[in-house]
């Protein structure tokens, strides 16, 4: 097969799939929200509201494009493009399946750019480029709410990069590679998914990932009650649509990463065990397993969103710096100790140690942590 | 000093003051309700609303002997030692019964009554009436009777106070109105064939304390509580009645007189009251128009925008003065201009060139002065401010060139250009007179309505009517009065004072009050008005005038809280010197 054709097909496939996925995720999200609130959600366009995304898309395209008078036009236009580009680019090294046999050639790996040794770093690096779009959008709008939203967002993203990075180091240690395919294979070979072995790391990763995707309860950058719409207050029509797209792309990225790093990727005992070579059937099963896992993670994120209230900004920062980073460090320590002193195949002990660390943290919280100590009282009351 | 005790409080009344008990109590801050009494009419004591208990205090012993019966306060003079009780149960009971009696055959159609809101019966019933009406009369529709050109009588609403009848007998003198029938059948009527249509008939509508007499002009038009009053001055003759413009949503709904002992007392004539179409006439001039020199047909007018149009006018005037000399340019000051505007225009004329001819605009005269029985006069001179404009003219060029003299100058070819300010509310110039101006090479007409002269003009500058501008007018006797704007100018027109101050190149908004101050400093005749003009005006000729004094009740607890047909403090009049503490001019 042509050396450029294969990636091209994969790119087209992934981009189309993610775009379609985003469109329908919006519908799913609205449906989920509606059901949780005893409503029915969109149900007028097509059966069960299935054509709603098409209507939404048409609406985005047809709506009036406004650029505020005092806006910095160039940056204003660049912001949504850059954020969308960054979000899409992150998919380059994320595997969405295992291998597909190809007659007369090596099997094809289901990653746009396979065998990138810094795969995970690449995802993180590109993913955090998105913050530029947010800041630019907030700045260029010439609107104080937008600017505040942009500032909040940058502070939040920068803060949560740290626990995010810390949490995955454990995974790297155990898998011995930054390459996402290898991380999956490591889990598949051992039969242990890393979330069971490093529960602390998994927790930190989920929380930070949620914050990185700016999902509720961490959606401070765009919280309507305080900031109108946050950094995209002034954006209309398709430019706003691009921001919304990017947000869901981030969500998908985080879900993929969660599955690949902690939930075994395409591995499922019995159905999709580790194998060097797979046939067509095996390949399809693995793609399905991976994507269903991914979908479940997304559903979980949605469930969270419609269940929990938003944090206050100080709480948000406290969680990053005072809770998540220490937890990430503890996780790292435990993993490093295991890696240094334990037999590489002894996952049971590692898991026990990991859960002991969780228990230790709970114990610490029970004994020493005093949330709510800084209660405000009315003036004059002691 | 006479000491009078009202409800236990002593008040002092000057010896030469002749007050009745209503007025004395008013000074003490006690309101005695009344219908039939009016300070401008004779006292009949027929309504019995004002009954109070009175008595005399023995100066030496301090002993008080009360009269056994209630007496009408309107008819009882307040003498030294008079003791008045206005809130005893007996007095209350009487007021109560009077109210009940009045409502026995009253239609209670307040919702459709135009007086509702300023009706004394309404107000008094709330203050002094029964909680509920005991008579089982349902509201009904009042009979309606046509009394004259301007007056409608709603027969069943009448409380028979006879104020209107006395007015036609004592003030206007026509005696058109009379009471027919007796007792509870008594009604107001006119003799067949003798309707009430003298030129003061509108006043009876104001006098009527209830909704019986209604002005046809205002009938069904607007509810009184929607209207804002604006104190102004009538410009239809040189009496210069003090008036109030009643305005709602930028529309002039009616004009009522305002009490002013120096000009009009409580009254005004029907001309000033009803003939105010010019204020919102659809044909009002509303843009600066420029006629190109070659088309003499009048079809060649084109609209100019304000600042540029005015610049063009200024350019044209200056050009004439520069080309043929200042003395070939005439600036005509209309007697409808306020003093401030006349002053600004004259100043402007003199800035073009010191030789510019200043002339007095046409002074419209209709017939002879018409004096009514009470002395109220409709003057033949149908303009508000001849005296004021003349004083300004005298200051700027010693002699007054009047309209005929100006026409002569025009016809003799002495003039090349003229700026004619007008602002007449009615047609004021005919074709023949206007034709004389055709020979001018520049004619600027500053007017509010189209006229033969405006059609001949090279530039037409739209002005505003009296209701749309602030400013002062000097009436026939030298009384300067202040009028306040009630309406915004029609779209496209600018307040005259603003136009003149723009022409003068002054910056900012035209403020009539500060221009008057400036004028008072420059023209000695106006010196007394430097600190503003009090409500009752200032007589610049004699130097003295009467100022109505506000009583303890002021305007707040007066029987008519919202609108009152006659001025603010109308219960008493007394001459207060301008330097003394005068609460109104304050």
């Amino acid at each position: 097969m042509q050396v450029w054709l294969e990636p091209l097909i994969k790119i087209v496939l992934v981009v189309l799939a993610t775009q379609a996925a985003v469109a329908y995720l919006v519908l799913v999200e609205r449906k989920v929200a509606a059901y949780m609130q005893d409503r029915l959600g969109p149900n007028r366009v097509g059966p069960w509201g299935l054509f709603q995304p098409i209507a939404d898309g048409a609406k985005f395209i047809l709506k009036e494009e406004l650029i505020p008078a005092g806006a910095d036009r160039a940056l204003f236009l660049i912001a949504p493009v850059s954020i969308l580009a960054a979000a899409t680019l992150a998919f380059a090294t994320i595997p969405f399946g295992y291998l597909v046999p190809w007659p007369g050639a090596d099997p094809i790996e289901l990653t746009i750019a396979p065998k990138v040794d810094i795969g995970l770093l690449f995802v993180f690096a590109i993913g955090s480029l998105g913050v530029y779009g947010v800041i630019l959008g907030g700045w260029a709008s010439n609107n104080k709410y937008s600017l505040l939203g942009g500032l909040r967002s940058s502070a939040q993203l920068v803060s949560y990069e740290i626990p995010l990075g810390l949490s995955v180091i454990g995974v790297l240690l155990f898998s011995g590679s930054l390459r996402l395919e290898t991380i999956i294979t490591a889990q598949a070979q051992s039969g242990w998914w890393w979330f069971a072995v490093q529960p602390l790391g998994f927790l930190v990763f989920m929380v930070s990932g949620c914050a990185e995707a700016s999902r509720l309860p961490f959606d401070l950058p765009e919280c309507e009650q305080e900031l109108v719409g946050g950094y995209h207050t002034e954006y209309t029509a398709m430019k706003f649509g691009m921001f919304a797209f990017a947000e869901y792309l981030h969500l998908i990225t985080v879900a993929f990463l969660t599955v690949n790093l902690y939930l075994g990727g395409w591995h499922l005992w019995g159905l999709a065990p580790y194998a060097d070579e797979v046939g067509w059937f095996g390949a399809i099963v693995r793609v399905l397993v991976l994507n269903i896992k991914m979908l479940l993670v997304i559903l979980f994120f949605m469930w969270i969103r419609w269940s929990w209230p938003r944090f206050r900004y100080d709480q948000l920062m406290n969680i990053a710096w005072k809770v998540m980073i220490p937890l990430g460090v503890i996780n790292l320590l435990v993993c490093a100790v295991c890696q240094e002193f334990l037999d590489p195949k002894n996952y049971l002990t590692r898991a026990v140690l990991g859960w002991l660390a969780v228990g230790g943290c709970v114990l610490y919280a029970a004994l020493f942590a005093h949330p709510g100590k800084t209660r405000l009282k009315a003036p004059g009351i002691t | 000093m006479a000491t009078i005790t009202v409800d236990g409080n002593d008040i002092q009344v000057g010896d030469d003051e002749r007050l009745n008990v209503i007025q004395a109590a008013d000074r003490a801050g006690v309101a005695i309700p009344f219908y039939c009494w009016h300070p401008g009419l004779s006292v009949v004591a027929s309504c019995r609303m004002c009954l109070v208990e009175t008595g005399m205090k023995n100066k030496d012993t301090g002993e008080i002997s009360m009269m056994p019966k209630l007496v009408p306060a309107c008819q009882t003079p307040a003498k030294d030692g008079t003791v008045v009780v206005t809130n005893s149960p007996k007095v209350r009971a009487n007021q109560n019964f009077v109210q009940e009696g009045l409502l026995l055959d009253h239609p209670v159609d307040c919702p459709i009554c135009d007086k509702a809101g300023e009706c004394w019966l309404q107000d008094y019933y709330f203050s002094y009436g029964h909680q509920e009406r005991r008579a089982d009369v349902r509201p009904f529709t009042s009979r309606k009777r046509d009394l004259g050109e301007h007056v409608t009588l709603f027969v069943d609403r009448c409380v028979m106070c006879s104020r209107c009848v006395r007015f036609t007998q004592e003030v206007s003198g026509g005696s058109e109105l009379l009471v027919i029938d007796r007792g509870s059948h008594a009604e107001i009527d006119v003799f067949p064939g003798f309707p009430l249509d003298d030129q003061m008939s509108g006043n009876v509508n104001d006098l009527c304390p209830v909704g019986a007499l209604c002005s046809k002009d205002f009938l069904y038009q607007q509810r009184v509580w929607f209207m804002e009053p604006h104190d102004s001055v009538c410009t239809r003759c040189s009496t210069g009645c003090s008036i109030q413009l009643h305005v709602s949503q930028n529309q002039l709904y009616r004009i009522q007189p305002r009490y002013n002992p120096n000009a009009n007392d409580w009254w005004m004539c029907d001309i000033g009251r009803f003939e105010n179409e010019s204020v919102r006439a659809p044909e009002r001039l509303s843009s600066i128009e420029h006629r190109s020199a070659d088309s003499k047909t009048g079809a060649g007018f084109s609209n100019r925008l304000w600042p540029e149009g005015l610049k063009a006018v200024h350019g044209a005037l200056s050009e004439i003065a520069a080309r043929t000399g200042g003395s070939t340019l005439a600036v005509v000051l209309s007697p409808f201009l306020t003093c401030e505007e006349a002053y600004l225009l004259a100043t402007y004329a003199k800035t073009i060139s010191a030789d510019v001819v200043l002339a007095l605009g046409k002074v419209p005269v209709e017939g002879a002065d018409k004096t009514f029985k009470s002395g109220f006069t409709i003057r033949a001179e149908r303009c508000p401010n001849r005296l004021g404009v003349e004083q300004i003219l005298r200051h700027f060029q010693k002699s007054v060139i009047d309209w005929p003299a100006l026409l002569k100058k025009v016809e003799a070819g002495e003039l090349q250009g003229a700026y004619v300010s007008a602002g007449y509310p009615v047609a004021w110039i005919d074709e023949a007179e206007a034709a004389a101006f055709e020979r001018l090479s520049l004619l600027v007409v500053h007017d509010i309505l189209p006229s033969p002269l405006a059609r001949k003009a090279h530039y037409v500058v739209p002005g505003v009517s009296f209701a749309e501008k602030d400013g002062s007018y000097v009436n026939h006797s030298g009384l300067i009065q202040w009028g306040e704007w009630g309406l915004t100018p029609v779209e496209g027109a600018h307040v005259d004072g603003q136009t003149f101050s723009d022409l003068l190149g002054r910056k900012g908004l035209y403020q009539a009050a500060s221009v008057l101050k400036e004028l008072a400093g420059i023209v000695p005749f106006f010196a007394r008005a430097a600190d503003g003009v009090p409500q009752a005006g200032l007589n610049l000729v004699t130097g003295t005038e009467k100022h109505p004094r506000t009583t303890a009740l002021g305007t707040v607890t007066h029987p008519l809280p919202t609108f009152r047909s006659v001025g603010t403090a109308f219960l008493e009049t007394e001459a207060v010197s301008r330097n003394g503490s005068n609460p109104i001019s304050g």
């Binding site: 989920v32 509606a34 059901y35 949780m36 609130q37 005893d38 409503r39 029915l40 469930w303 969270i304 419609w306 269940s307 929990w308 709970v362 919280a365 029970a366 942590a369 949330p371 709510g372 209660r375 009315a378 003036p379 004059g380 009351i381 | 055959d105 239609p107 159609d109 919702p111 459709i112 009369v137 349902r138 509201p139 009904f140 529709t141 009042s142 009979r143 309606k144 009777r145 046509d146 027969v155 069943d156 009938l219 069904y220 038009q221 607007q222 509810r223 509580w225 929607f226």
Partner: protein, 189 residues
């Protein structure tokens, strides 16, 4: 009221247990609550009504405050007497009336024009309260829509037609016709 007033009862924050301090129970509570509702709706027990197909039911349409109507009397004439009291009471200043002499012998004044700007109206019902002859009423028509602002400015004819449309469903809340007694109705001269 001062913060130290005796009338104020200050409530202390509830003490959180260990699970609470770890956010654990609240978070799980939240999740389980939404999950319960999710499945309940999925079973078809949601509350949504399919509006245009399913009309809502009013408990008492007489007290609903929807579009206005101008009532007619027994002879089919507009009941309003153009007293402007509704316009006076209206806090939104959306009623504009032009009154004139009525063409009927038994009535004095009537509205030549009666205009309500339904877009400005806040449906407070003050006009209904104010009307002395029960001429203006708010109906239970609630789905008021229009394609332009002009369309939403209801004039007398339109308001009267709302009466025709709703009079069967919602009888007039009249306190009886304005009866006439006293001197015979009609105009002098």
């Amino acid at each position: 009221m001062q913060p130290d007033s005796k009338q104020i009862k200050w409530v202390d924050e509830p003490k959180l247990g260990l699970a609470g301090r770890l956010y654990l129970t609240p978070l799980i509570d939240g999740l389980s609550l939404t999950a319960r509702h999710f499945f309940r709706t999925a079973r078809g027990e949601g509350f949504t009504r399919q509006f245009p197909e399913e009309r809502p039911l009013f408990g008492n349409p007489l007290i609903y405050r929807g579009v206005h109507r101008l009532n007619k009397d027994e002879q089919g004439r507009v009941k309003c007497v153009a007293c402007f009291l509704c316009a006076t009471a209206c806090p939104a200043h959306c009623i504009d009336i032009i009154g004139t002499e009525s063409p009927w012998a038994d009535r004095e004044k009537y509205p030549q024009s009666f205009v309500i700007d339904e877009l400005r109206c806040i449906f407070c019902g003050m006009c209904e309260e104010a009307c002395p002859v029960d001429a203006i009423e708010l109906t239970s028509l609630f789905d008021l829509t229009g394609a332009s602002r002009e369309e939403m400015v209801f004039d007398k004819e339109k308001l009267l037609s709302v009466y025709d449309q709703t009079c069967d469903l919602e009888p007039m809340r009249s306190r009886g016709p304005a009866a006439h007694s006293g001197p015979p109705p009609g105009k002098d001269h």
